[in-house]
């Protein structure tokens, strides 16, 4: 505890020094890494300065009055109760100050809203509770899940440096390029925010809104979902890695390679042990948040899979609910999110884990058949 109070003292001292120090101690807006974030930072400084000035003048007067105009020092009450000149002055002066603030603010608003002439476009989709990224120019798609282990959250393991702000697959962009973001959601409202890049936009199911950023510096920038989206709202972070153009090209090549490997998997036939092993990973990343790692769900909120009618019933119905979800509930449609092999694996896992001893398995080909041979349509966000 003592160490923490010392840090508080250090933070107080840091206030007197540089903005860089402030950022380290999480005191002020994060160090900007884009022009927009820089503009917002300066705008905020300006307004704070004006507010501080007004505060000192107005409350300087009030505290002077509290000290001098008190009965205990024998001050007699005056009887004035209006003065038109004074009242006009303190209506007009704030108005002028506000005009002075409005002008620079309006310039930044117009700049933030200008999403024209991008170098590249990325579509971002919010899901309960992860982010999906589609690189429209490079034809890359992936999902980005929280990477912090469950043990750190419940306190049975030491928390890492980037606790809750780390993902399995970061969004990667080249430095110095104008990146246009097309933001939407699959289920409920989310909001995509990376403070250092100065980009925040609500993700609205059924609508696409755009935003943009141009990162000035190579580095890793972290943010979180900032619109309440249900149980795991606090557990869907955003990580943007800004890299050099060469590194970006290498990353694109690597992602395309792994996409081909995934496509090859869809054409394979697997043994049950392989499917269960793969399915457990898919389950942990996509299902365990609600249905829990032990398959028991949360009574009254999220149903159990262990011993459930679906997971111990006909295979086709089981595949159907995983692929198409359950409208009106938090159960999402995974047809558009997971590959054929992953869906086959997770269904097989669910039928053979915990109390479920079905002993049967689904192959990727069955999932492809369930898609009706039209995978692109099935991949669209589920509508009712």
């Amino acid at each position: 505890m003592k160490g923490k109070w010392q840090r508080v003292g250090v933070m107080g001292a840091a206030l007197a020094f540089s903005q860089v120090t402030l950022a380290e101690y999480a005191y002020n807006l994060q160090a900007p890494a884009s022009q927009v974030a820089q503009d917002v930072f300066q705008l905020h400084n300006l307004i704070m300065l004006v507010c501080l000035g007004i505060f000192v003048v107005v409350f300087g007067a009030m505290f002077y009055s509290l000290l001098k105009h008190r009965k205990s020092v024998g001050h007699q009450a005056a009887h004035f109760h209006e003065n038109t000149t004074v009242e006009v002055i303190w209506t007009v002066i704030p108005f002028l100050i506000l005009m002075g603030m409005a002008y620079p603010a309006a310039k930044v608003v117009i700049d933030m809203k200008d999403t024209t002439n991008p170098d590249m476009t990325i579509k971002i989709t919010g899901y309960q509770w992860k982010w999906g990224y589609d690189y429209l120019n490079d034809d890359i798609s992936f999902y980005s899940n929280l990477a912090t282990p469950r043990e750190q959250i419940v306190g049975s393991a030491e928390k890492g440096e980037h606790y809750l702000l780390e993902v399995d697959e970061p969004m990667v962009v080249p430095v110095g390029k104008r990146v246009r973001l097309l933001i939407t959601a699959n289920d409920v409202l989310h909001a995509w925010w990376v403070p250092a890049l100065g980009a925040k936009q609500d993700a609205i199911p059924g609508f696409i809104r755009d935003s943009w950023f141009k990162a000035d510096k190579i580095g890793t920038y972290r943010g979180q979902c900032v619109e309440l989206c249900g149980k795991d709202h606090g557990f869907m972070p955003i990580v943007v890695e800004v890299v050099s153009e060469e590194d970006y090209a290498a990353w694109v090549a690597k992602k395309k390679g792994s996409a081909q490997a995934a496509a090859a998997d869809n054409a394979k036939s697997f043994a049950i042990a392989e499917l269960v092993e793969r399915g457990e990973k898919v389950y942990q990343a996509n299902c365990a948040a609600c249905h829990q790692a032990d398959g028991k769900g949360l009574p009254g909120v999220f149903p159990a899979i262990s011993g459930s009618v679906v997971a111990t019933g006909p295979m086709a119905a089981h595949i159907d609910i995983v692929m198409n979800g359950k409208p009106g509930t938090a159960m999402a449609a995974f047809a558009g999110q997971l590959s054929d092999a992953d869906i086959a694996a997770v269904v097989t896992y669910q039928r053979n884990a915990w109390d479920n001893k079905m002993g049967d398995l689904a192959q990727p080909a069955e999932i492809a058949a369930a898609r009706g041979g039209n995978a692109s349509e099935a991949a669209a966000p589920a509508a009712q």
């Binding site: 009030m62 209006e82 409920v188 609205i204 900032v226």
Partner: protein, 525 residues
């Protein structure tokens, strides 16, 4: 009938006693007390939820709650504090004080007054019972945004019903207050001679009547989307989730002023009394209140700068929002000018009123920061916003309620409260409140989102400070409860005038104010 005959029928004529007296009462003082007790109980209920939230946030990781229960706590804390504490408390003040300040014998519609109160506990019960229903209480945030709100269980329907009932109560109360003020003023008491508290309530009541039906419409659409297959807010059926936000904030921004205008009124009564000097700029106070109320209808989308509006809309709502700083500034300047060259003493009501002026202004400044759209886009849905609205609602609305209670309690009970305990309550509250909420500005600036049960490690220190402050603030409210109970039971006899500098009709009455007052209207010169 003579006045003497009237004076004797105070409690006689077979009026019910015990619980039936309170259930059937049409007396404005009884109903005022009921509102205030209801608000006080709810303050402790929702305050306990706040302490659970702060206890969970004392350190990173999940300790006391699971994320779903955490969301239930934040949602219910918000709904109850707004609809169950601040609004009923102000209604309690209106019931007690409006007739006393106008020289009216009672409210215009006494039976409707009884109903307006007694449906409130029903609404509170609907909200509270949902904690024990399958799926738990409502967890979609007090703002009830769809589609998340469509996903929930039975408790979401109960919440919609509760909101309807609370809205109905507010509308009935408002009709009563407006009619009383416009029709039942003592002869000679023109509108521009009314105490400022009455003025602020008159304007608040109009805001309530204008906006509560809008809220009712919004939640009814949620109800039909949830249960009857409509698609008002579902894009798949041609609806729009953002439309809910527009409708909701068209209600909820004026609602913000519903929660603060009566506070302005109370403070405008208290400061002149203890400065022993008339309120500075009475007329400009009335005009400023009215302008704030009118402007409140054209600023709603500043709560929605991140939904992706066109630049022109963002600019309009940014400018209109900034404009509100002008009349609000006028009010603060007027209060300071009222203190200037007064002869001040610092009894507990005055302390709370001064803290109000100072701390509410901090909330006003952070409001100005948030009005600047580009800055708001950085800070929206972070702890900065949490800090902002708690400065306005805790050190604003709640502190004014404390000021008002200490100010009028001697008139209501006939006893002076214990000044030492009152000062303890004040200092612990004001220190505790700042320890809770000031660090939240830093958390928000540094990027901590609101409504999260767990956070990244760099936010730890300020969260721990805030939690310590929350427990200081929370437990010091027990002192307030003790002061109120002690004052009702006994204490030094209060004079009729109570405060040396007090002006107004209520102070011409005996302390405690008799059960029936102003049966013959006083004449105001």
């Amino acid at each position: 009938m003579s006045d003497a005959a009237h004076a004797h029928d105070d409690h006689g004529h077979g009026h019910p006693t015990g619980i039936m007296r309170w259930l059937t009462t049409t007396n404005h003082k009884d109903i005022g007390s009921l509102y205030l007790w209801f608000a006080l109980i709810m303050l402790f209920v929702a305050g306990t939820m706040a302490l659970l939230i702060r206890a969970e946030l004392f350190q990173p990781g999940l300790q006391l709650t699971n994320p779903d229960f955490f969301n239930q706590l934040t949602t219910m804390h918000g709904l109850i504090m707004i609809f169950g504490v601040i609004m009923p408390a102000f209604s309690g003040f209106a019931n007690w004080q409006v007739p006393l300040m106008l020289g009216a014998p009672d409210m215009a519609f006494p039976r409707m007054n009884n109903w307006a109160f007694w449906i409130l506990p029903v609404a509170a019960l609907l909200l509270m019972v949902s904690f024990w229903l399958p799926g738990g209480a409502v967890a979609g945030g007090w703002t009830m945004y769809p589609p998340l709100f469509i996903q929930g269980g039975i408790s979401y329907d109960l919440t919609i019903l509760a909101v309807h009932i609370m809205g109905l109560s507010s509308i009935m109360g408002s009709i009563n207050i407006i009619t009383t003020i416009l029709n039942m003023r003592a002869p000679g008491l023109t509108l521009m001679k009314m105490p400022l508290f009455v003025w602020t309530w008159l304007i608040t009541a109009y805001l309530l009547i204008a906006t509560m039906p809008v809220l009712a419409g919004a939640v009814t659409m949620l109800l039909t989307d949830r249960n009857f297959g409509t698609h008002f807010f579902n894009a798949a059926g041609g609806g729009d989730p953002v439309m809910f936000q527009h409708i909701f904030w068209f209600f909820a921004h004026p609602e913000v002023y519903i929660l603060i205008l009566p506070a302005f009124g109370i403070v405008s009564q208290v400061i002149p009394t203890f400065a022993r000097k008339p309120l500075f700029g009475y007329a400009s106070m009335v005009y400023a209140t009215a302008s704030i109320a009118i402007l409140s209808f054209i600023v709603w989308a500043h709560h929605m700068f991140t939904v992706g509006m066109p630049a022109a809309a963002q600019l309009f709502f940014m400018f209109s929002t900034m404009l509100i700083a002008v009349p609000t500034g006028v009010k603060v300047f007027n209060w300071v000018a009222t203190m200037w060259k007064g002869s001040m003493t610092f009894e507990t009501p005055m302390l709370f009123a001064i803290a109000f002026v100072c701390l509410f202004t901090i909330g006003g400044f952070s409001g100005l920061v948030l009005a600047i759209a580009p800055v708001d886009i950085q800070l929206h849905d972070t702890y900065y916003v949490v800090a902002h609205f708690h400065y306005v609602l805790v050190s604003g609305a709640l502190f004014s309620i404390f000021a008002g209670i200490y100010y009028w309690l001697p008139k209501w009970t006939g006893h002076m409260y214990n000044e030492t305990l009152g000062k303890w309550h004040f200092w612990l509250s004001v220190i505790g409140m700042n320890i809770v909420f000031f660090p939240m500005h830093f958390l928000g600036l540094a990027g901590m989102p609101r409504r999260i049960p767990d956070y990244a490690l760099q936010f730890t220190e300020f969260n721990q400070i805030a939690t310590v402050g929350a427990f200081i603030f929370g437990f010091s409210q027990l002192i307030f409860l003790a002061v109120v109970l002690k004052t009702i039971k006994g204490g030094a006899k209060a004079s009729d005038q109570v405060w040396e500098g007090a002006q107004g009709l209520e102070w011409t009455l005996p302390s405690p104010a008799p059960y029936h007052t102003f049966e013959t209207a006083p004449v105001v010169k």
